[in-house]
Symmetry: D2
Subunit: 269 residues, 4 copies
C-alpha cells in the first residue's frame, strides 16, 4: 500500500532511490501566491549535500533542483509542485559485491522479507538520499511559515560523547558539523575523523527550534503537533528517539518541577 506521503493540508509525496534516475517530491496544498524560485530550494539542498566537507560521506552530490510544475510567472499557483534532482555520482558497481549480504543497521533484510527482493544499490529506497525530497519540500514550508514570522532552526546538539553546552545560533553555520558551540564543534570534528579512520561512525542528536508558532496547531487527539512531529522525525533513516521539550528528563521530575507556569506577556498569554 502507500506510505511515501506525509501531511494533509500541506502534503508531500517523495519518490526515488539512491542509484536510480533521481529523487523527487510532489508537494500538494501549497497555497497560491507564494513567490518561489529554484534558488529558494537550492540553498537548503546545498546545506544537506554530502561531500561538502570532510566529515560527511564521500559521495559527491552536485544536487541541482528542478521545479517541474506548480509555478507560473515565479508564483505558486496552488497546484502540485513537482521537484526532482538528478542522481549523479551514482556508481553502483561497488554494491555488486555485497548484494547477497545483509548489513546490520540497514533495511536490507527487511526489504527482502517485505518485497521478495531489493534494489541493493546504495540502499535503494531506504537510502538517506530519499530525504532530498523532504528537504526540498521543507524549503517551501519554511518560506511559507516565514510569512507569519515562524522560524525553524536546526543544529547538532551531540556527536558521540561531545554535547554542545552553549547555544549560539550564529555559530551554527560557521562550522562543518553545525554545532552552536564553537568549542564543542572542534571536538566533534576530531571525533568523527577518528571514527572514520577506524572504519567506524558516530551517533548524535539533532535539535530543532521553532519560534513564533501560534497556539492551537495540530488536531486532537491523534494528529497533535507533537505526534506528527514525532512521526516525521522517526521516519528519517537511523533515528531511534524523539523528545519534545524536556523529553525524557520529565520522567525524573515532579509535576511541580515539570510544569511551565503560564505567564502574561504584553497583556497576552
Amino acid at each position: 500500500m502507500d506510505g511515501s506521503s506525509f501531511g494533509k493540508l500541506f502534503k508531500i509525496t517523495t519518490w526515488g532511490e539512491s542509484h536510480g534516475s533521481g529523487v523527487g517530491v510532489v508537494v500538494e496544498g501549497c497555497p497560491a501566491g507564494l513567490p518561489l524560485k529554484e534558488s529558494d530550494i537550492q540553498k537548503d539542498l546545498d546545506r544537506r549535500r554530502t561531500g561538502q566537507s570532510k566529515v560527511t560521506t564521500t559521495r559527491k552530490e552536485g544536487d541541482k533542483i528542478q521545479i517541474m510544475s506548480g509555478i507560473f510567472k515565479g508564483i505558486t499557483t496552488g497546484t502540485p509542485i513537482a521537484m526532482w534532482v538528478n542522481n549523479k555520482d551514482a556508481d553502483s558497481s561497488k554494491y555488486e559485491s555485497i548484494k547477497h549480504l545483509y548489513r546490520p543497521g540497514h533495511a536490507d533484510y527487511t526489504y527482502d522479507m517485505k518485497y521478495g527482493f531489493r534494489d541493493y544499490r546504495g540502499g535503494g529506497r531506504a537510502s538517506a538520499r530519499e530525504t532530498v525530497g523532504r528537504v526540498a519540500a521543507g524549503a517551501i514550508a519554511k518560506k511559507l511559515l516565514a510569512r507569519d514570522n515562524i522560524t525553524i532552526t536546526g543544529f547538532t546538539r551531540q556527536i558521540g560523547h561531545h554535547t554542545a553546552e552553549t547555544i549560539n545560533f550564529k555559530e551554527i553555520e560557521k562550522n562543518i558539523v553545525r554545532c552552536p558551540d564553537a568549542k564543542t564543534a572542534k571536538k566533534m570534528v576530531t571525533a568523527i575523523m577518528q571514527a572514520r579512520k577506524n572504519g567506524d561512525s558516530l551517533g548524535g542528536v539533532v535539535e530543532v527550534v521553532a519560534r513564533g508558532v501560534p497556539a492551537g496547531l495540530g488536531e486532537p487527539v491523534f494528529d497533535k503537533l507533537d505526534a506528527d512531529l514525532a512521526k516525521a522525525v522517526m521516519s528519517i533513516p537511523a533515528v531511534k528517539g524523539v523528545e519534545i521539550g524536556a523529553g525524557f528528563q520529565t520522567a525524573a521530575m515532579t509535576g511541580s518541577e515539570c510544569n511551565d507556569i503560564i505567564v502574561m506577556k504584553n497583556k497576552k498569554r
Copy 2:
C-alpha cells in the same frame, strides 16, 4: 489542501500543467515483482495522444514516457514509481490574447476565484493534459490486473446523435473514434468533422467493460467499488454523468425487471 491523489492500496498522485515543463504521476503501492518497461506504458499513451488523427485537437503531443523510479532490473521493487512526460509543442503565445477572458465550460473563472489568479496557458492544471498521468498509472494497473485475468476495455458508445448499436470489441481499434460498431464509427467521424468546420464540438459517451472481476472488491459503505469508480470518472474534465450497469434506465423499471437472477455456473455462483 491536497486533492491530486487517488486510491489507497494503489495510490496515484498526478502533477503538471498543460504548458509547464511536463506532466507526471507518482504511483504508490504497486506490488514488487511486476516486470515493467516504458513500452508497456507508451502504448496506452500513444492511444491517448492528441494529434494522432483528424478528429482530435491539433496539438501534436509526441509524448514519450520516462520512468524515474521504482524499477530495478526491469522489475517493480514495491517503492513509488515516478513517471513523467515532457511537454512539447506547448505554444502558449496564443493564450495571451484570452488571458482576461473566462471561457464557458472551462475552469478559468473557478480557478481565479479559488486561487486569486491562474495559469491561463492551455487551461493550466485544469487541462485534460493532466490525464497523461492517469493513463500512465492505468497502464500499470492493467498489467497488474492482467495477472489475475481481469481485463478492462474502453470504447466510444456515442458521439452527438450517433450511438453504437452493435458491440464488436474487434472493431474498436480499427477506427479513429474507437467505436465498436463500424457503421456508426463512420457517421461519428463525419459529425465531428462537420462540427469542427462550424467551429464547434460534440459531446459523447464512453463505455468501459471490466471482465474477470472477483466479487467483493471495494469497501462498504463509502468506498464501494461503484462509488470509487464514479468519483474517478467524474473527476475527468468535462464528464457530467456516470452510470453503472443499466444506470438511469433502472429508474423506469420495476424491481422484478431490474434484478439480475443469480445463477450457478460450473457449480459456482
Copy 3:
C-alpha cells in the same frame, strides 16, 4: 481495511447494522461554536424515517437521535460529535428462513464472498438503514452551511414512468413522495401502491439543488466537488447513476449548445 469514513475537513464515520444494537456516526471537523441540539437532527431523521406513510417499507423506525459527545452548553466544541439511534422494531426472525438464499439486487452474495459469512438480518451493514448516520451528519452540515446562506433541497424527480414536469419547491413537503409537482405526486403514489400490490417495487430519480454555493469549492484534480458528490451519491444502496447539471443530455449536444455563457450580476461575475 477501512471504508466507512467520508470527507476530510468535515469527516463522517458511520457504523451499525440493520438489526444490531443501533446505527450511528462520528462527525470529525465540525467547527466549534455552532449551536446544536438533538431536535436539529431529529427533524431530518423524521423525514427519512420509514413507516411514516403507506408508500415506504413497513418497518416502524421510531428513530430517536442521541448526541453523545462534542457539545458543551448547547454549542459544538470542535471535537468529534458522536450520535446514534437505537434499533427498535428489529424483528430478525423473518430473516432466518432466507439465510441461505442470495437475494438479487442485494449485497448478500458479495458479503459472503468478501467476508466468508454475513449478518443476514435485514441486510446487516448493507441495509439502507446505514444512511441514518449520513442523515444525522448531513443535518449538522446543513446547519453549518446555512450560516453562509447555502441551502440544499432534495426532491423526487421521477418514480417509474412518472416524472415531475414542474418544480415548485413549496409542494415538496406537502405530499408523501416529496415530488415538487402535485399532479405527478398523485400518479407516483398510485404507481407505488400498484407495484406493492404486485409484490414488486419501482425505481426513481432524486434531484438535489444546492444554492448559494461559492465558486472554488473542492480540490483539483481528483477531489473536485463534482467527483466527491458522485462518490457520495453512488455509495448509497441501490443508486446506479449520477448526473451533474445537464448530465447525459450533454452527450447529444454541441459545445455551443452545452456551454453556459458567463454573465455579470451586480457587477460581479
Copy 4:
C-alpha cells in the same frame, strides 16, 4: 479538520469527553471471523481503570464496555465495531471554580486559542479518559495479533528516580504500579504516596515489548513501523519522548557498538 482517527488497514476513531455522556471508539478494518465478546475487552479496561488502587487518581470509573456493532453470533463481521463506555462518577461541579484558570501542563490554554472556548469539565476531550477508546480498540488488536503468535507486553520501567533493574514479566501484574522488578515496585509506590501527600505528582517511563513480529511491517518511507508507533505514543496526553530499541543511548555509541549482528536461527534469519 479531522484528527481523531489513527491507522489505515485497522483504523480507529475515538470520541468523547471526560464529563460528557461517555467515551467510545469505532474500529474499521477488523477482519471478519474473529470471535469477540465484551469480556475480551473488559479485562484491558479494568487494567486501565483509575480508582483501582491507592496510586491512581481517585475518580472511580466502573467502566463497562458495550459493543454496539460489527459482531454477529459472537464473531466479527468485517464491518465497523463501535464500542463505548458510559461516563459515571462524572462530577463536574468541582471544575466550575477553575473554569477561568489555565492549568500548566494541560491543554486548557491551547483549546481556548484553537476553538474560542472549551469544555472545562475534567479537561474535556484533552482528558486522558479519551484513552478508554484506544484501550478497547487495542484489546481487539491484541486478540488479532495473538492468532499469529504476536504478543504485546507493557510495563512501568521508571517512576521518578526509581528504575526497574530486573525485568521479570511474571511480576508485572503482581504489584499496583505494574513494575517487573518487585523491589523497585515497592519504592515506586512509596514515592507516589509521598508525592501525593505533597500535592504533587511524578513522571515515569513505560516500556512496551512486542514479540513474534514478522519482518516487513510498516510502509517506507513515512509510514515505517517505528514512525507510526512514535506518533501513536506521542499522541497520548503527557508523553514527551519516544525511543525505539536503544533509543537516545545510540547517540553516544559508535556504529560498531550500535549495530546488531544479523544471525541465523533454525537456519532462518
